[in-house]
C-alpha cells in the first residue's frame, strides 16, 4: 500500500502496528490475508497502490466540499420522522423524492427532484470527546482529528501551525493538479465560531504553502483578483521577456540547477507563469461568463453563486473546492446561520431551506448535465445535526422552546459523483433520528472516502511538525457507497 517514505522508527505505537492495521483494513476489500499480502507484495514491487482497481478507488479527479457550517437540522431537512411525537418531528411535513420510499422535509422540493443524482447518507455519527461546539466539530470533520489532540483546552484555540491539516491541504500536497490552476480554493468566507476563525481550515503542520487559496468575497458581487491578474504595468510580452531573462540567469548556473533539480522550482514558476498569463484561473472566477438563466437557477445569493463558482473552478481543474455556508455559527438564525438554537422552524422555512434547496439542486442538475459528476466527488455536510428533541439543551447552550441544539450522534450527508450510487439511500437512523440504525458513518470514514476516491490510500502515514508519524485519517472508506 501507499507509504510515504520517511523515518519509520519514531512512532509512539510501535513498528508493526501499521502493518497490522493494513492487514485489518484488507477485509473490507473482500480479501483474505494471504491474498492481501500477495497483493501488497505485488504493489510494493510495482510501486502501485495496492488499492488500485478496488471499487471506487481513484475515481475522482476533484472534490467539491459543500460545508454547511453551523449544523443543519437533519430531522427537518433530510431525515423527517413523521411518526415521531410532535416535540421531535417538528412543524414540517415530509415529501416524496426520486428515491422510492425515501422522504425528505417539505421545504426541499427541488432537492427531492434531484435526489436520483446522489446518495443520501442518513447515518453520519460520532461521539465527541468532551464539549461538542462548532469549532471542535468542524476540526474533527475536516482534519479527521479531535482538537484535543492539538490543544489541551480543545475547541476555542485559534488555528495553530501545529494543527492537523484540513483535508484540502493534504490533497493539494498529495495530488497537485496539472496545468495552470489553483490546487485548493476555499470560499466565500472562513469557518468560524465566535472569535475563532479558520480552525480546521488550514494546512497546519504541512505549512502555509498548502493553505487554500482563500477567496473570501461575495460571489454574488463582482470579484477582485489582484494576484491572479497580470499587473497593469506588465503586459504579457513583458512578463514573457522577464521569464526569458530568468531562464538565462538560471541556466548560467548549471551546478545550482542540478543541486535544486528535485525541488520542482521550475514547475512552480511555470505554473505561476501560466496562471497569471493564461487567465484560466481568472476566467474560472468570472461568473459573467455564465448565462443569466444558469445564474438564476443557482439563485442570486452568496451561497448560490458560490456553488456556481465552485463548479467553474472544478471545471478549470482545481483539485479541491471548499464552499462554506456563508453565515457563521453564532446562534443567530435570523442571519441564516444553521445554528438554530434560538428559533428553528421559521428561519429554516423562510431563510435556509429555500437557499439550500435551490442552489444544491441546481448544482447537482448542472454538474450532471455537464458530465462533471463522472469524476467529481460532491459532498454536502455540516459539522453535526441538531437535537431531535425540540427546546432541550444537549450541548450546554440555551435553546428557545422551538430551537434545536447540537447533535453529532446522528445526522445526514449528501454525496454524489464518481460512480457513487445515484438515487440511493445509505444507512438509516432510528425512530427519532437520534442514532444510526445501521451502517454508521464516522466523519473519519467520510474523509477516508474522499481520499480514497481521489486515489489516496487513507491508510497513509503522514509526519507532523515534530516529524512524528501520524495517520492521514483513522477511518475506512465507505465502499458501500459505490454499491
Amino acid at each position: 500500500m501507499l507509504r510515504i517514505p520517511g523515518r519509520i522508527t519514531k512512532t509512539c505505537e510501535g513498528l508493526s502496528r501499521r502493518d497490522l492495521m493494513r492487514v485489518g483494513g484488507a477485509s473490507l476489500l473482500g480479501l483474505n490475508l494471504p491474498q492481501f499480502l500477495q497483493w501488497k507484495a505485488q504493489a510494493a514491487e510495482t510501486g502501485v497502490s495496492a488499492l488500485k482497481g478496488a471499487k471506487g478507488f481513484d475515481t475522482a479527479k476533484s472534490v467539491l466540499m459543500v460545508f454547511l457550517q453551523g449544523g443543519p437540522s437533519h430531522v427537518d431537512i433530510w431525515d423527517p420522522k413523521p411518526d415521531a411525537p410532535l416535540n421531535i418531528r417538528g412543524e414540517f411535513k415530509s415529501i416524496k423524492t426520486k428515491i422510492p420510499g425515501t422522504h425528505i422535509g417539505e421545504h426541499m422540493p427541488m432537492m427531492a427532484d434531484q435526489l436520483d443524482k446522489c446518495t443520501l447518507i442518513r447515518s453520519m455519527s460520532y461521539t465527541p470527546n468532551g464539549l461538542f461546539n462548532h469549532t471542535a466539530a468542524i476540526y474533527q470533520m475536516l482534519t479527521g482529528y479531535p482538537p484535543d489532540k492539538v490543544s489541551p483546552s480543545g475547541q476555542l484555540e485559534p488555528p495553530s501551525p501545529a494543527d492537523f491539516p484540513t483535508a484540502g491541504s493534504h490533497i493539494a500536497k498529495r495530488k497537485p493538479p496539472v496545468g495552470p490552476v489553483l490546487p485548493f480554493v476555499e470560499l466565500p468566507r472562513p469557518l468560524q465560531e465566535s472569535g475563532v476563525i479558520g480552525k480546521g481550515g488550514a494546512a497546519g503542520f504541512l505549512g502555509k504553502a498548502y493553505d487554500p487559496y482563500r477567496l473570501y468575497q461575495d460571489p454574488n458581487k463582482p470579484i477582485q483578483l489582484d494576484d491572479l491578474t497580470l499587473r497593469k504595468e506588465i503586459p504579457p510580452q513583458r512578463l514573457k521577456d522577464r521569464f526569458e531573462l530568468l531562464k538565462g540567469i538560471n541556466g548560467s548556473m548549471p551546478d545550482l540547477e542540478k543541486a535544486l533539480d528535485s525541488y520542482a522550482i521550475d514547475e512552480y514558476y511555470g505554473k505561476a507563469y501560466d496562471l497569471v498569463l493564461s487567465g484560466k484561473a481568472r476566467d474560472a472566477f468570472d461568473l459573467e461568463k455564465e448565462s443569466e438563466k444558469t445564474r438564476d437557477r443557482y439563485g442570486r445569493t452568496t451561497f448560490g453563486q458560490g456553488l456556481l463558482l465552485s463548479r467553474r473552478l472544478i471545471e478549470s481543474g482545481t483539485r479541491f473546492v471548499q464552499m462554506n455556508w456563508p453565515a457563521v455559527a453564532n446562534g443567530n438564525a435570523e442571519v441564516d446561520s444553521w445554528d438554530t438554537h434560538a428559533a428553528n422552524f421559521g428561519p429554516l422555512k423562510n431563510l435556509h431551506c429555500p437557499v439550500l434547496d435551490r442552489s444544491l439542486s441546481a448544482l447537482l442538475e448542472d454538474m450532471s448535465q455537464r458530465g462533471l459528476l463522472k469524476d467529481t466527488l460532491v459532498v454536502a455536510v455540516g459539522e453535526f445535526g441538531r437535537s431531535p428533541r425540540i427546546g432541550v439543551s444537549t450541548s450546554g447552550n440555551a435553546n428557545a422552546p422551538d430551537g434545536r441544539d447540537h447533535w453529532p450522534y446522528c445526522y445526514s450527508a449528501i454525496v454524489a459523483g464518481c460512480g457513487i450510487g445515484a438515487g440511493q439511500q445509505y444507512g438509516e437512523s432510528d425512530q427519532t433520528a437520534s442514532s444510526p440504525k445501521d451502517k454508521p458513518v464516522h466523519p473519519n470514514d467520510l474523509l477516508a472516502t474522499v481520499y480514497y476516491a481521489l486515489g489516496i490510500d487513507p491508510d497513509t502515514t503522514i509526519y507532523n511538525h515534530l516529524n512524528q508519524p501520524r495517520e492521514l485519517v483513522k477511518g475506512k472508506p465507505v465502499t458501500g457507497l459505490w454499491a
Binding site: 501551525p161 538560471n250 522550482i265 512552480y268
Partner: protein, 712 residues
C-alpha cells in the same frame, strides 16, 4: 470450540525442564508473539478485558495481570495445557488475536514448563538483563545485495548469557538502504548507511551498517583541511569512497557566510571589498562582531523560546527580545544563558529571562520544552507510556516534570508584567497510574532523588549545564552545526536518541568536546564550524558524491528563510516594505515576534508562529502561492519599480549600462556578472523604449533566480 483434550496429548513431560522464570523466559515470548503489541493487549485499554503493558515495558504489571486478573483462571498448574494462557494463543479456545503459539513449539513448551513449575516471577537482580550485545558491533557490506547474519546476545545480571536473536526486535531506520529479515539477516539494498535498531526487554542497541560502493577506480584526492572538522569528515568520506568538493569561490563564500551569520546579503560595496582582499577568517570575525549577527541569532532564540505577544503581551515581548539581544551581543556563555532562563525569578520587567516560563505555563509542557531545547531529548511520548525506542520511562517523565512544578506565576504590578516565584506548597506531581507523588529525579546521572529542601529549579539548572551531562553540549553543537550545514549530524536536531544515530559520531564528539573545552563559548563554536572546509565546500557533486546527502561531502542549497528573503529583497530593490508596528528602518530580521506583518509575505514564506519550541516549525520549502507572489506580487512589483528604489536612483545618477548591470548582480547574487552576462544585459537594456523598465525586468529576473532565493 475445539475440545481441550486434544491438546493434552501434545503436552510434553515437564519434569526434566530447566527452571523457567517470567522475567527471563516468558516475558520475551509475550513480546515476540505480539501479545503486548499496540493493537492487541498492549493497547491503552487492553483487549477484550485483558490488559498488558505496551511492548512489555512493565513486566511486573504484566505478571500481576496474568496472575490475578480473572481470579487467576489463566493457569492450571496441575494440567498446564488447560491453562487459558496456553489455550487462548493456540486457539484451543477462541482467541480474537488468532493463532499465536503452535502447540508443541519451543515457546509453547517454555510457557508450559513455567506453569508446571508454579509460574515463578524470577528475581530482578538475577533474571534481569544487564546489557545486550550486538554481534558484530558494526557491519560493512561490500556492495548492495550482499547480506550478513547478525546476532543479539543478552547478558543477565547473574552472569548468564543467552542468544536472544530470535526474540529481539530488529528494524532498520532506513530500510531502502539496508533491511533486516525476520531471521536477522541484514541485506544491503543501495549504497549508503543505515542503522539496525535492536530492542530486547527494555534494552536498546544499534548496529551501524554501511553499504559500500563497489565501483572500482576510486582514488582519494586530498583537499586542504582547515581544522579538525575536516579531518573527521574526510576520514568518513574516505572510508565510504566519497570524494568531497573543494571550497566554493570567494563570492559564493561571501554570500553564504554573510547570510548564515547575519541574515543579510552582502552589499555591492562589501562584494567589491572582499573580492579585492579575500581573507575568509578575517571576514568571519568581522561578521561575528556585527549588530546583524546579534539580530540573526536573537531571531533564532526568539523562535525557540517562543517569544510572542500571544504568550507575553506586547511589552514583555520587546523586553524579552532585548534580553536575548544582550545575551547574544555579550556572547554570554551558553551554560550561563540557560541557567539564567531556568532559574529566573521575580518580575518579568526586571528580569525578562523569567518570560521563559510564560509560553508554557504548566510543568509538563515546560519540562517537555526544556528537555527538547537544551538536551535535544523528546519526552512527550513518555507522558503516556515508556518511550518505544528509548530508555526513557513514564516514571521519568513525571520525575522530570516535578522539577518545574514549584514554578508559580502571579500578576505583576504593571500591565504586561508577571512575577515568577517558587511555590511553597501545592506543587506535587502525581503519577497518573497510581497517584503516587513523584519526587524530582534527573534523567541521567545522579541516581538519588533530590533532597526535599533543595531548590528544584536551581538543582535542575546545575545538572543540565554540568559538563558531565551527556546531552547538553552535544545538542547545542549539533543544533549549531545544522544552522550552517543545513542538517544536523543528528537530524532532526531536537530528537536525539539511540535509534536516531549521528552520521558522524567522531565529529560530533569532537565538536562537543571543543565546545566544552572552551566553556560553552558560542562564537568559538560558530567560528570553528564556518572556518571548516566542509562548511565552505561548493555545491558541485562528482561521480562519487552524487548520492551522498548526509556526510557533508558538498554543500546543499538552502532556501533563504522568510526574514532573510525579505531583507535580501529590500537590499536588492532598495525599497523597504512598511510595517506600522515597528519603526521605519526595521529589518525583518529584527522583528520582535510573528505578529508584525502577520499573514503577509513572511508567513507565506514559512516564518514560524512560535507555537512550539521545535526547529521544524520554520518552513523553507517552495510552493505555488510563493512563486505566484514572487512573480506577480504587489509588494515585489512595487519595490522593483519604487521611486526611491535602486533602479530609480541609478537612473537619476546616470549610471552606465555596465555599472548598472554590475550593481544589480552584486546587489542580488553578490557577484560581478560574467562578460557574457554583461553583454546580454547590455543588449537587453538597449532593446526597448524605456531603459528603466528594462532594468526593472532584469532586477525582477535576478530576484526570482534560484541563485537569489537560495543560500548556496
Amino acid at each position: 470450540m475445539k475440545p481441550l483434550h486434544l491438546l493434552l496429548c501434545l503436552a510434553l513431560p515437564a519434569a526434566a525442564a530447566d527452571s523457567v522464570t517470567f522475567l527471563r523466559d516468558v516475558a520475551p515470548i509475550l513480546n515476540k508473539v505480539g501479545c503486548t503489541s499496540g493493537p492487541c493487549h498492549g493497547a491503552a485499554k487492553g483487549k477484550n478485558g485483558f490488559k498488558l503493558s505496551l511492548r512489555g515495558y512493565d513486566p511486573e504489571f504484566n505478571y500481576q495481570a496474568l496472575l490475578y486478573d480473572l481470579g487467576g483462571r489463566r493457569f492450571n498448574r496441575a494440567d498446564p495445557a488447560q491453562s487459558l494462557m496456553l489455550a487462548k494463543p493456540t486457539q484451543a479456545v477462541p482467541h480474537g488475536g488468532g493463532l499465536r503459539l503452535e502447540p508443541g513449539s519451543a515457546y509453547y513448551q517454555t510457557i508450559f514448563n513455567w506453569i508446571a513449575q508454579g509460574v515463578p516471577y524470577g528475581a530482578p537482580t538475577k533474571d534481569g538483563i544487564a546489557s545486550i550485545e550486538m554481534q558484530p558491533a558494526s557491519l560493512e557490506l561490500a556492495k548492495p545485495e550482499e547480506s550478513q547474519q547478525i546476532k543479539v546476545v543478552a547478558h543477565f545480571l547473574d552472569g548468564a548469557v543467552r542468544d536472544v536473536t530470535k526474540e529481539a526486535v530488529i528494524a532498520s531506520n532506513i530500510p531502502d538502504v539496508a533491511d533486516v529479515s525476520n531471521d536477522a539477516v541484514v541485506k544491503g539494498l543501495r549504497i549508503g548507511e543505515a542503522t539496525m535498531l535492536v530492542r530486547y526487554e527494555g534494552k536498546f542497541g544499534t548496529i551501524p551498517v554501511t553499504v559500500l560502493n563497489p565501483k572500482p577506480g576510486f582514488a582519494w584526492k586530498s583537499l586542504p583541511q582547515n581544522n579538525y572538522i575536516d579531518q573527521f569528515i574526510d576520514a568518513k568520506l574516505k572510508r565510504l569512497k566519497i570524494q568531497p568538493t573543494a571550497a566554493a569561490d570567494d563570492a559564493t563564500f561571501l554570500r553564504r557566510v554573510t547570510e548564515d551569520l547575519t541574515g543579510q546579503a552582502p552589499t555591492p560595496a562589501e562584494v567589491k571589498a572582499f573580492l579585492a582582499s579575500p581573507n575568509r577568517p578575517a571576514l568571519i570575525d568581522n561578521l561575528l562582531a556585527r549588530k546583524t549577527y546579534v539580530d540573526h541569532f536573537t531571531l533564532k532564540w526568539g523562535d525557540l523560546l517562543q517569544n510572542s505577544r500571544k504568550f507575553l503581551g506586547d511589552k514583555a515581548t520587546w523586553e524579552f527580545r532585548e534580553w536575548l539581544r544582550d545575551s547574544v551581543a555579550s556572547n554570554k556563555r551558553y551554560d550561563q544563558f540557560v541557567r539564567e532562563l531556568l532559574t529566573a525569578r521575580g518580575s518579568t520587567t526586571d528580569n525578562p529571562a523569567a518570560n521563559y516560563y510564560r509560553a508554557t505555563r504548566d510543568p509538563k509542557p515546560t519540562m517537555e520544552k526544556t528537555t527538547q531545547l537544551f538536551l535535544g531529548v523528546r519526552m512527550v511520548c513518555t507522558q503516556c507510556h515508556d518511550h518505544p525506542f528509548e530508555r526513557w520511562t513514564q516514571n521519568q517523565y513525571y520525575e522530570m516534570t516535578s522539577f518545574f512544578s514549584t514554578v508559580g506565576i502571579r500578576p505583576g504590578f504593571e500591565s504586561g508584567e508577571e512575577i515568577l516565584f517558587d511555590k511553597r506548597d501545592d506543587y506535587d506531581i502525581r503519577h497518573p497510574k497510581d497517584d503516587r507523588v513523584m519526587k524530582p529525579k534527573f534523567l541521567v546521572g545522579s541516581a538519588t532523588p533530590l533532597p526535599d529542601d533543595a531548590n528544584r529549579r536551581q538543582a535542575f539548572a546545575e545538572w543540565i549545564t554540568a559538563k558531565e551531562n551527556p546531552f547538553f553540549a552535544k545538542s547545542m553543537a549539533n543544533r549549531m552545526w545544522s544552522y550552517f550545514l543545513g542538517k544536523g549530524i543528528i537530524d532532526p536536531v531536537d530528537d536525539i536518541r539511540a535509534s536516531n544515530p549521528p552520521t558522524n559520531e567522531a565529529l560530533l564528539e569532537a565538536l562537543t568536546k571543543d565546545f566544552k573545552d572552551h566553556d560553552y563559548d558560542m562564537k568559538h563554536l560558530i567560528r570553528t564550524i564556518v572556518n571548516s572546509r566542509a562548511y565552505q565546500a561548493g555545491i558541485q557533486v562528482n561521480e562519487w558524491s552524487a548520492t551522498d546527502n548526509i556526510n557533508f561531502s558538498h554543500a546543499i542549497p538552502r532556501r533563504l528563510n522568510a526574514e532573510q528573503l525579505m531583507d535580501a529583497l529590500t537590499q536588492a530593490t532598495g525599497v523597504r516594505p512598511d510595517f506600522p508596528e515597528v519603526p521605519e528602518d526595521t529589518r525583518a530580521e529584527e522583528f520582535p515576534d510573528p505578529h508584525v506583518g502577520k499573514d503577509g509575505f513572511l508567513d507565506l514564506f514559512g516564518r514560524p508562529q512560535r507555537e512550539t519550541p521545535a526547529e521544524g516549525e520554520r518552513k523553507t520549502d517552495l510552493s505555488l502561492p510563493q512563486a505566484l507572489n514572487l512573480v506577480n506580487g504587489k509588494s515585489i512589483s512595487d519595490s522593483i519599480g519604487g521611486p526611491n528604489g535602486r533602479i530609480a536612483k541609478a537612473m537619476i545618477a546616470g549610471a552606465t549600462d555596465k555599472a548598472l548591470i554590475e550593481e544589480l548582480y552584486m546587489a542580488t547574487l553578490s557577484r560581478v556578472p560574467t562578460p557574457g552576462e554583461l553583454d546580454k544585459g547590455i543588449t537587453y537594456l538597449r532593446a526597448g523604449d524605456s531603459r528603466a523598465a528594462r532594468a526593472q525586468d532584469l532586477l525582477w529576473a535576478l530576484v526570482n533566480s534560484k541563485a537569489f532565493l537560495y543560500n548556496r
